[in-house]
């Protein structure tokens, strides 16, 4: 089966060159180098039609950048993004535009993701009219229909974003994305800014829409509980790389990578009462100067010499379960991380 969308060896680098003053300073002996951030470092990710892939990671791990590249907002520095098996950059004309519209995004901040100077009817209706998806005279009815679908009262369509609550604004953002009839939606921390009770409503909406419209999602979140609830497959990123990916059941039942294990252990859950926190040590390294070899080695309780030298490759450890850890190559002499009870 062809993936709906696939990232093949995709990287994103942000390079900040030295300006003239810094070059003079370096000439005079200052220790300055051009800064390169490997926000996303040679990532492979396939999303099958109808699948929900959860992408988990801490801040600065590159999960949002990867999502933006898949949504087509940001060009990749290297690698290919395949839409239905075809390199998206080779598409021209009508198919290119259709592919662009078919991938949409729902953002994190329900306030800044809506233009404050536009009414709901224009926020939702502008793009479908501009692209000829609906004739201008049907815009009103079309927007009303979308608003109903996402659970908003259509009589509010003349209102401005500031007149809605956070949850309602997120619904407007969803209606805006649905208006161009997408097949694939990137949700970038789309429920992170909402209260728990509102979060539940929006998650339910996502799942309803998936069932009714056959949508495919990339669900980016730092909230493992939400990801576990909604995803068919989970991928976990650390400093620009995917370190583990597996079907959700296997991912939570038998996490393999020490980082995954640490993360799952440390997420506070309601089931874990009065527990003793046993955090992994160290700070999240700056993506400006990631550690050598396996990026996780300075914080890893099982790190050994090879981890410092060599970056582990992703390899399949069970059907559909891939992980990038040198421990998988060694025999049982190395201690295995313990699976967790909470998830």
């Amino acid at each position: 089966m062809t993936p709906l969308i696939e990232a093949a060896h995709v990287s994103k680098r942000f390079v900040r060159d030295l300006d003239y003053a810094e070059r003079i300073a370096r000439f005079l002996g200052a220790d300055l180098k051009p800064q390169t951030v490997h926000a996303v470092d040679t990532v492979d990710l396939k999303v099958m039609p109808g699948e929900v892939v959860g992408l988990v990671g801490e801040s600065g791990c590159g999960k949002s950048t990867l999502g933006r590249m898949l949504a087509g907002i940001m060009p990749q520095s290297e690698g290919t993004i395949l839409w239905n098996g075809q390199d998206r950059r080779t598409l021209v004309g009508r198919p290119a535009r259709e592919a662009r519209l078919a991938a949409q995004m729902i953002f994190q901040d329900p306030m800044s993701s809506l233009n404050p100077r536009k009414r709901v009817i224009d926020i939702v209706g502008e793009a479908p009219v501009a692209h000829g998806i609906v004739p201008r005279r049907e815009k009103d009815a079309y927007v009303a229909g979308l608003m109903e679908r996402v659970g908003l009262d259509p009589s509010y369509r003349e209102r401005y974003p500031h007149q809605f609550s956070g949850g309602q604004r997120q619904r407007i953002g969803i209606a805006r994305a649905l208006a161009v009839k997408p097949q694939f939606i990137v949700c970038d921390e789309s429920v992170a800014a909402l209260d728990v009770s509102i979060q539940a409503q929006i998650i339910n909406l996502f799942m309803d829409l998936r069932r009714e419209l056959g949508l495919t999602y990339l669900f980016i979140s730092h909230d493992i509980g939400v990801v576990k609830h909604i995803s068919d497959r989970v991928a976990i990123m650390y400093l620009g790389r995917i370190v583990e990916s597996a079907p959700a059941e296997a991912f939570f039942a038998q996490p393999n990578h020490p980082y995954t294990v640490a993360l799952l252990n440390e997420v506070p859950t309601i089931a874990n009462r009065r527990r003793v926190f046993s955090p992994i040590k160290g700070e999240i390294p700056s993506p400006l100067s990631p550690p050598s070899g396996c990026h996780f080695h300075p914080r890893c309780p099982h790190a050994f010499e090879r981890c410092r030298r060599e970056a582990p490759k992703l390899q399949e450890i069970a059907p559909g379960h891939i992980s990038a850890c040198h421990l998988n190559d060694t025999s049982s002499t190395q201690p295995r991380p313990e699976a967790v009870a909470a998830f």
């Binding site: 728990v196 539940a200 859950t269 874990n272 003793v276 926190f277 955090p279």
Partner: protein
């Protein structure tokens, strides 16, 4: 509890605005004892942070504590003259804020910000104050504390800044710490480090801790007792296990059912319908009744405070069901 460190009784903090009086806190009661951690839980706008600021007398004008009592070691803090209040703040009662990037003054060194805190309450030499600052920095797990004293906040990561803020709170070994979502802005692994630190410190130093949070998971792991707030009131309180396993108030039940991690994978979540009422225009009686599936006409009246053993709630239709 025989001699609680802090007793809050029917606290009311109101904000007069052009559009009417915002009753941000409208009848909050709870107590915390020595060495105890109370989790004060609620969604945004429930009044949990304002409660915290009310205890320290730090409510921004035009907000004002208009009713109730705040008994700290038996002494009522409501109506205490400002200079008396100032003597307690940072000395006997300390606070930790939510956003570690914003709580430290960017143009003053860490040392300055710590030393001034020591000198504000104790008549010691600058040298002594600096030594105390250094030791406290070490206590919260900051490496090479002596050098770090001359550093500025921008040279620290978010997690480290929060440790510095905690160290400042601990400088005088306070009897009570109010922590207002201090780990919300942090990543999971860093949050876990801070939680571990706080847990050890509160156990070792025996202070009372009020931990304000929207995250039930964090509170579950840390708190001895939980108080759940909705629309300016504590609607339910009790020991952590009781509140999380056998919640009584329909709001608590709804909140726990909304947490995705609690529900079976892929099943629709049993979300609370609607949204929290505007603080300007809360329903009469029980503020939750417009979203509550158990509501009856009686809920238009003020629900009384009921209790059974260590549990207390404000509801005409208390439920008894296992959620988790």
């Amino acid at each position: 509890m025989s001699n609680p460190t802090l007793v809050v009784e029917n606290l009311q903090t109101h904000f007069p605005t052009e559009k009417g009086i915002v009753k941000a806190v409208d009848g909050v009661s709870f107590e915390v004892g020595r060495g105890e951690v109370l989790g004060l839980v609620g969604e945004s706008g429930s009044g949990k942070s304002i409660t915290g600021f009310s205890i320290l007398g730090l409510v921004d004008p035009p907000g004002k504590v208009v009713g109730g009592r705040i008994l700290f070691q038996g002494r009522d803090l409501v109506g205490l003259p400002p200079h008396e209040m100032r003597k307690l703040r940072g000395h006997k009662i300390a606070m930790i804020f939510q956003d570690p990037m914003m709580t430290l003054n960017p143009v003053l060194s860490i040392g300055t910000q710590m030393v001034e805190t020591v000198l504000a309450h104790e008549n010691v030499s600058v040298k002594e104050a600096r030594a105390r600052a250094r030791d406290t920095l070490g206590m919260v797990g900051i490496p090479s504390p002596e050098e770090r004293l001359s550093a500025y906040p921008h040279q620290f990561s978010g997690g480290m800044r929060q440790r510095v803020a905690i160290a400042i709170a601990l400088l005088h070994r306070p009897d009570l710490i109010i922590a207002d979502e201090p780990t919300t802005a942090l990543d999971v692994t860093i949050q876990s480090q801070i939680l571990a630190q706080i847990q050890a410190l509160s156990r070792d130093l025996g202070m009372a801790l009020v931990w304000i949070s929207h995250d039930l998971g964090v509170v579950a792991g840390l708190a001895h007792r939980i108080a759940v707030m909705y629309a300016g009131r504590v609607v339910e309180s009790g020991p952590t296990d009781h509140v999380l396993d056998y919640p009584v108030h329909p709001y608590t039940i709804g909140l726990l059912q909304s947490v995705a991690a609690n529900a079976p994978r892929g099943a629709p979540l049993r979300a609370i319908p609607g949204m929290a009422p505007s603080p300007l225009n809360r329903p009469s009686g029980c503020a939750f009744r417009t979203r509550c599936s158990f509501a009856t006409p009686i809920c238009e009246n003020e629900p009384p405070l009921d209790d059974a053993g260590s549990m207390a709630w404000r509801c005409f239709h208390p439920q008894a069901r296992r959620v988790a």
